[in-house]
Symmetry: C2
Subunit: 141 residues, 2 copies
DNA sequence: TATTTAAATGCAACTTAGTTGCAAATATAA
DNA sequence: TTATATTTGCAACTAAGTTGCATTTAAATA
């Protein structure tokens, strides 16, 4: 598990300082296969770090393409690394996401491409979000 | 413009009492071709009605299939009648929506069907939301 | 028309997500 | 080791949305 090395490189390659908080946040993302919100992270962080710092880390990671928005239901924005344990390129919004109505977890559906559609020339499309909702396997049994 | 008749029938057919506030809310939806949030409505309503009442009207209309959720960006949930001036059936989530990054207005793209996709059997899909973002014609000039 | 009652409204208070300004702390580079 | 830009913490704020409860009102019916 040399996530540490990975994280160091990732932060450095984006000109971001490697701080304990950022490191821990990225570790959390690598240790989960579902998306995390700011408050999820605050709850999972060891020490009692300030919410604001977490919000700023998430914004910064999003701006640098380290994280992408996976969903934004009323309970807050959830973020994810693009591929689970692949903190690399293509953190795009080109795949769909799934939100479970039961456990409220959000998953990246990396093998479900967001479809291309024809839209009236009245609109210039620059972003796309395709979010499916329902029940995940754990919540079904 | 016998929207009044339409609104009366609509409310009555759902067993909802016809009140001045609900009437005015539905008129607002009929008079706009973009989706409206609770605070949009509060701002456009004549008298100074309570926010809570508007939230409750919107929830009630959503439960009865009179309105559907068009988008929920960080700035709040926007609702729309299914067809502009067609307060009837099929207030489904089967069409896409467009959110303008400039004016922050949300439009129903009633001719853009939400695509059907194959999803891993790990997930049981019950809802779908397909939201496009970009710039609308007015904001492009 | 007058009475009754369930439904709708208003108000106050609360929760939660997210933001801003500023001072103090700290990661890195020289 | 020092200097500096970046990051963090704190306090305070905004905005969306919710809840409980008392009051009002639409509409059914007597
Ligand atoms: Zn679940
Ligand atoms: Zn994703
Ligand atoms: Zn626009
Ligand atoms: Zn719509």
């Amino acid at each position: 598990m040399d996530n540490m090395k990975l994280i160091g490189d990732l932060l450095h390659s984006h000109g971001l300082k490697k701080t304990p908080i950022r490191t821990e946040v990225l570790e959390l993302f690598m240790d989960h296969d579902f998306a995390l919100s700011a408050s999820d992270i605050v709850a999972k962080m060891t020490a009692g770090h300030d919410r604001v710092t977490i919000y700023r880390a998430l914004s910064s990671f999003e701006e640098h393409g380290i994280l992408h928005r996976a969903s934004e239901d009323g309970q807050g924005t959830k973020y994810a690394l693009c591929g689970h344990k692949c903190p690399d390129e293509q953190h795009t919004d080109k795949h769909a996401h799934f939100v479970c109505d039961e456990c409220h977890q959000t998953y990246c559906l990396e093998d479900v491409q967001v479809p291309e559609v024809e839209v009236s020339s009245e609109f210039t499309v620059e972003r796309t979000s395709f979010v499916l909702g329902g029940i995940c396997r754990q919540c079904q049994q």
